[in-house]
């Protein structure tokens, strides 16, 4: 407690200095947080389709190797999979890249998702309206990101400049490869595919991937199906997320940038901690002489470091939120609480350990004898 009180007293007595230190750390943390938010936005913008589904195992043909867009499985496959005891239910989705315009506006790139009316193949939630019903032609549920968020239920959507559908519902966070999605019933999807892919015939069944809800651990189910079916590539939903083009590279690259930035921030915090100890060396030595244990002094250094870091986190989080708000829509920054909490939590622990580890060797070697003036001979 004494160490914490010393730290608090110092911060109260020198608020300007504490603010300056926190702002300095906040600049580095701003970099870490904004890159993390950008990485998160990129990955989520590419994989919303998979997160929107209530499926935990994804099946593609072997050649597609878990990539939804390349898979050419037909619905018949799902019948065989449904017979398995480790599969609760199954559905089928098909993906077609195309374009869409709302109310005669400019066309934008979208991914049309055909889905079977089975639980794993349908978006879990709609934020408004509903999904197209089985056998209901000319209707679609669309991603709220379409048309810059200006789309509403009742709008008319022109797909590939050829087919018009009515928007009957809105889904959120369901994009694919940074493009909004349009969810269609089998008939509309097959017609659209025929229009977009001139060499494709009208498909009586959805062509794409099969998605499953398993009754056992998804990884075990994926392994078991793979072992029994050479022609299939089966993975968990997380595996399918990682297989989306670009996602792994983005995660690795931006993850490395975040890690390096955090390491720099932690190093900076440790350096500041060391400088503060060196600057107060005479005082700390005198406190050791009058009976303050080194751990009490370490506690004061650590608490001060934690408080400065928390201040820096607050400043950098506010700055990141502002940055994400003013950034153009083409910059996919997402400042989610979980991102702030994880970057903040990890960096706080790392910074505390860094400050402690850097300050302890100095504090533990302070010689209380130095508090008396005379040098030995």
């Amino acid at each position: 407690m004494t160490g914490a009180r010393l730290a608090l007293a110092e911060l109260r007595a020198r608020p300007g200095r504490a603010t300056l230190t926190s702002v300095g750390l906040a600049l580095v943390l701003l970099l870490a947080l904004s890159v993390t938010a950008l990485a998160d936005g990129l990955v989520r913008g590419s994989t919303g389709v998979l997160r929107a589904l209530d499926a935990d195992v994804v099946v593609t043909d072997e050649a597609a190797n878990h990539q939804l867009l390349r898979s050419r499985l037909v619905g018949a496959e799902r019948t065989a999979l449904l017979m398995r005891p480790d599969v609760a239910t199954a559905g089928q989705i098909g993906l077609v890249p195309t374009s869409a315009s709302v109310g005669g506006g400019a066309p934008e790139r979208v991914t049309a998702v055909g889905f079977s009316p089975d639980a794993p193949a349908m978006p879990r939630d709609t934020v408004d309206g509903r999904l197209p019903r089985p056998g209901e032609p000319g209707s679609a549920a669309v991603d709220v990101a379409l048309a810059g968020g200006d789309v509403v239920v009742g709008d008319t959507l022109s797909l590939a400049g050829e087919r018009e559908v009515e928007v009957v519902g809105l889904v959120d966070d369901a994009s694919f490869l940074q493009q909004p999605t349009v969810w269609l019933g089998q008939h509309d999807w097959a017609r659209l595919r025929q229009a977009v892919q001139r060499d494709a015939d009208y498909a009586e069944q959805l062509v794409g991937a099969t998605v499953l809800q398993s009754t056992e651990h998804p990884e075990a189910v994926a392994t078991a199906i793979t072992e029994e079916h050479d022609e299939l590539a089966v993975t968990t939903r997380e595996g399918a997320v990682a297989a989306v083009p670009g996602v792994s590279a983005q995660q690795v690259t931006l993850g490395a940038v975040v890690a390096v930035t955090l390491a720099v921030a932690v190093g900076l915090a440790a350096l500041i901690g060391v400088l503060q100890v060196l600057e107060r060396r005479a005082l700390l030595t005198a406190l050791r002489a009058v009976g303050a244990p080194a751990r009490t002094l370490l506690a004061s250094v650590a608490v001060r470091g934690v408080l400065l870091w928390v201040g820096a986190l607050i400043v950098s989080t506010a700055a990141t939120v502002i940055l994400a708000t003013v950034a153009p829509p083409s910059v996919p920054m997402e400042v989610r609480p979980v991102i702030v909490a994880s970057v903040g939590g990890i960096s706080l622990v790392a910074a505390t350990l860094g400050v402690t580890a850097a300050a302890w060797p100095i504090l533990s070697r302070l010689d209380p004898q130095d508090a008396v003036a005379e040098e030995p001979l």
């Binding site: 407690m1 005198a286 002489a289 009976g291 244990p293 004898q369 003036a373 005379e374």
Partner: protein, 246 residues
Amino acid sequence: MSETGVPGDLVIRADRVTKVYEDGERQVTAVDGVDLSVHAGELVALVGPSGSGKSTLLALLGALTVPTRGAVRLGDWDLGTLSEASRTRLRARHIGFVFQAANLVPYLTARDNVALAGELVGASRRASRREAEGLLVEMGLADRLGHLPGALSGGERQRVALARALLVGPRLLLADEPTASLDSDRAEQVMGLLAGAARAEGRAGVVVTHDPAVAAWADRVLWLHDSRLVVPDGGEERTVGEFSRG
């Protein structure tokens, strides 16, 4: 001496204590075979030229360092055998220090600087602050309780440092050039308080000084020269009478 002139209980004793430092390949003897006893109610001054070893002897008496040879005993404790942690606890509970520079925490008020000594031995903050206020009032600092050290004069800072040293009721009070940075009036005031505190409540005091006016406050004056206690002819220590009080 105590008020009756009869030596009180032995508080601290050094037996043939020697301190040798390593200086590269050279060995430097800072204190060489010193015998010393200080009794309750007694204030002893250590004087001598720079480098004579008086601060090192003070550090040995204050458990700030351990002797290379010989023994220092405070009550029943042989300071040379205690661990670093035990010596730290012992200093916090039984030894009060007043340094040349007051060495107060610059961001704590006078009251909280003094109370810190109580908190270091586990006393509650409230009780420590109450105790600190009483001591500071005794030191004539009733109107400076809430001031930061930067707002105090040198003499006031030393009085706060003295209050900090006395808060836990130490058995031994050690002072290192406590008036070196004060003018004579303030030095007189601080030494009056320090000498009174050193002699009170079965306590003993040792003060290191260059200043004859400070040494004049002591009951005994011990001279160090070349790391040894200089004992005048006949084995008698030099007395306070050999110094003027300025």
